[in-house]
């Protein structure tokens, strides 16, 4: 429920309902949501790829899935949404339907450690050329980054807008509601610490208590978003005029809904997604080929034609599509002033901080 599930105008809760159904164990939604890139060739095998849905999935279909199908003849079933509970319970119950999943790296690190993800085959997947700040692991390769910069309504903040997290947290200088993501691993804690004066190379290990104290100071002015759709809607209606939002989503609402929104890239936090293979996946070989194909620089540049999804290979990041380049989080000009999430730390601490975050929300 972290990322896009419904393309537009839908609500976060629809995804929640889908998840609720999925968790109960009804696999029915899977078949219903499947969009198949049917194979014309009989030579290739098949593969099920689970991803987030929405505009992001559409971009993946055009930039990765369709060309992969055409070049290899492999039949690719694409399902959505991603659901970590479902991923884990698939492995637990020995009923693994997905071959490749698109997950956040704290999940891939935890899954690798707890043994519910396959080790990747680096004879098939090219291990070189990833951004230094976005390392691969035994079980995962990064497929692209999302930025969590400060987004602001240009009609409301014409003359001045928050230029760093300290200003984002300054409700005297910039009064009104602001939106932030509603989960611990999003970068919200990092934003709070940066606002509190922590240097960006001294963020980890995170001083979570300090982050929560800083968040307490503006808690009554925060509207939390649970899905990308919700963040777009909040900015589009003007319910909030400032947002720690994904750049892809802000780009989408600007282009498709004419929302007057712009991005401040200074200290923009960026995290990324990994491709992983659940333990016991049935089409291992095709999965490895798909991952290698999908993270090839050409495909990553192709993705940026449709959405400003930050390439994970340096070669692609430097050559992002000119149309979306200003919104891409991993271009050299943006990484130079950006702040990467440290998922090795998050992999170890996600469970604990999830709990702390959930309790903090209820207070």
């Amino acid at each position: 429920m972290r990322r896009a599930v419904v393309t537009r105008g839908g609500s976060a809760l629809l995804s929640a309902v889908v998840i609720a159904v999925a968790v109960v164990g009804c696999g029915g939604s899977e078949e219903g949501d499947t969009s198949t890139a049917a194979s014309g060739s009989t030579s290739g095998g098949q593969l099920t790829f689970n991803t987030w849905g929405g505009a992001y999935q559409e971009a993946q279909m055009k930039a990765i899935v369709e060309p992969f199908r055409q070049e290899t003849g492999t039949k690719v079933n694409v399902t959505q949404p991603i659901d970590y509970a479902k991923l884990k319970s698939m492995v637990d119950t020995g009923n693994v339907v997905w071959d490749v999943a698109d997950v956040e790296p704290y999940v891939s690190r935890r899954g690798c450690k707890e043994g519910w993800l396959e080790k990747l085959d680096y004879n098939v997947i090219d291990p070189n050329g990833f951004l230094e700040t976005m390392p691969k692991t035994d079980c995962s390769v990064p497929n692209g980054a999302f930025g969590l910069p400060i987004a602001y309504r240009t009609d409301k903040w014409k003359d001045a807008h928050p230029r760093n997290w300290a200003e984002f947290f300054d409700t005297k200088k910039f009064p009104g509601k602001r939106s932030m993501p509603k989960y611990a691993e999003s970068g919200i804690l990092e934003a709070a610490l940066l606002a509190d004066g922590v240097k960006k190379d001294a963020l980890y290990p995170l001083d979570a208590d300090r982050a929560f104290r800083k968040l307490d100071t503006i808690k009554k002015d925060i509207v939390f978003w649970e899905s990308g759709d919700q963040s777009e809607q909040l900015m589009n209606t003007g319910e909030v005029t400032l947002c720690a939002c994904w750049a892809t989503r802000m780009h989408d609402t600007k282009v498709n809904q004419d929302t007057p929104v712009a991005i401040e890239w200074q200290d923009a936090i960026y995290g990324w997604d990994d491709f992983v293979v659940p333990k016991g996946a049935k089409n291992l070989k095709a999965a490895m080929e798909f991952i290698n194909y999908g993270t090839h620089p050409d495909r990553e540049i192709g993705m940026t034609k449709y959405t400003p999804w930050g390439p994970s290979r340096t070669e692609a990041a430097a050559n992002a599509d000119p149309e979306t380049r200003d919104w891409v989080p991993t271009t050299p000009e943006h990484t130079a002033i950006g702040v990467p999430l440290d998922y090795d730390w998050w992999g170890e601490n996600a469970a604990k901080l999830d709990e702390q975050f959930a309790q903090w929300l209820l207070k």
Partner: protein, 261 residues
């Protein structure tokens, strides 16, 4: 047999999980009752449900009464108005409430347009918003059983009471209200139980601080992957519901007797 498969077995697994994951014992339940915020959520869930039930009763009772007194055409109209929301998706109705209640929404536009306030009144992301939304959505479940029950009350009883010198208020309190109690009980029970498990409406109209038990169950299961603890919470909700139903059913029962004279 069918029930056993589709209902009892999943329930059994949930309860079993709550005692076995991550380890055997009552650790999950100890953790729930040992953590202040979770107990607060449980209390908030109960208080919100009671509040919604009372509001539904206050709105639903006069409405159901009107239904029994109106002519056939008026009655059809009134029933229609109750049923239409019932046929509309819960998600759509809740979403409509967000549009009405949000800071840039209909209510605030009207208030500010009339110059009553110059700042938005915060309705969404507050307990008020949650209660408003839940009450509207659950109102039909109060009105329909109430109507069924009120319809069976013979109007001549009230005339007889008046004839014997009772003022309208006294006649209502002594005759009509006791006779309507089975309907009140049934409606309240249904609304209350539904409210206990509400998820979508509080999630959309409330802030995280207004979270109800079902929301934190979803957080535990789908976000924190803690199936055992989530199951334990579900277990707590189930037990609380069963206890309250048993208690309420006992309260309502004596009144039922008065009807079979």
């Amino acid at each position: 047999m069918f029930l056993a498969v589709v209902f009892a077995y999943p329930l059994y697994t949930i309860i079993q999980q709550s005692f076995t994951q991550p380890e055997l014992g009552i650790g999950n339940y100890e953790r729930f009752f040992g953590t202040d915020v979770y107990v607060q959520v449980l209390i908030r869930t109960l208080v919100t449900s009671v509040l919604v039930t009372v509001i539904c009763l206050l709105l639903g009772y006069p409405y159901a009464y009107l239904m029994t007194r109106g002519g056939p055409a008026a009655r059809r109209m009134l029933i229609f108005f109750v049923l239409v929301p019932l046929w509309t998706s819960l998600l759509v109705r809740t979403y409509a409430w967000t549009v009405i209640l949000q800071d840039t929404g209909l209510v605030n536009q009207v208030l500010q347009g009339l110059g009553i306030t110059d700042r938005p009144v915060h309705l969404i992301r507050t307990t008020t918003g949650v209660v408003i939304g839940m009450s509207q959505i659950l109102l039909p479940f109060m009105v329909l059983p109430l109507y069924a029950s009120l319809r069976t009350i013979d109007p001549s009883y009230m005339r007889a009471a008046a004839n014997l010198g009772a003022r309208p208020w006294r006649a209502f309190m002594r005759i009509y209200l006791p006779l309507s109690l089975p309907g009140v009980g049934a409606g309240s029970l249904i609304v209350f139980i539904y409210a206990l498990g509400f998820y979508i409406t509080p999630a959309l109209l409330g802030s995280p601080k207004d979270a109800l038990l079902s929301q934190i169950i979803v957080t535990q299961v789908s976000q924190l992957l803690d199936f055992g603890f989530g199951s334990a919470m579900a277990g707590v909700l189930l037990i609380v519901t069963l206890v309250l139903v048993a208690v309420l059913a006992r309260i309502v029962r004596p009144a039922t007797g008065s009807q079979d004279r």
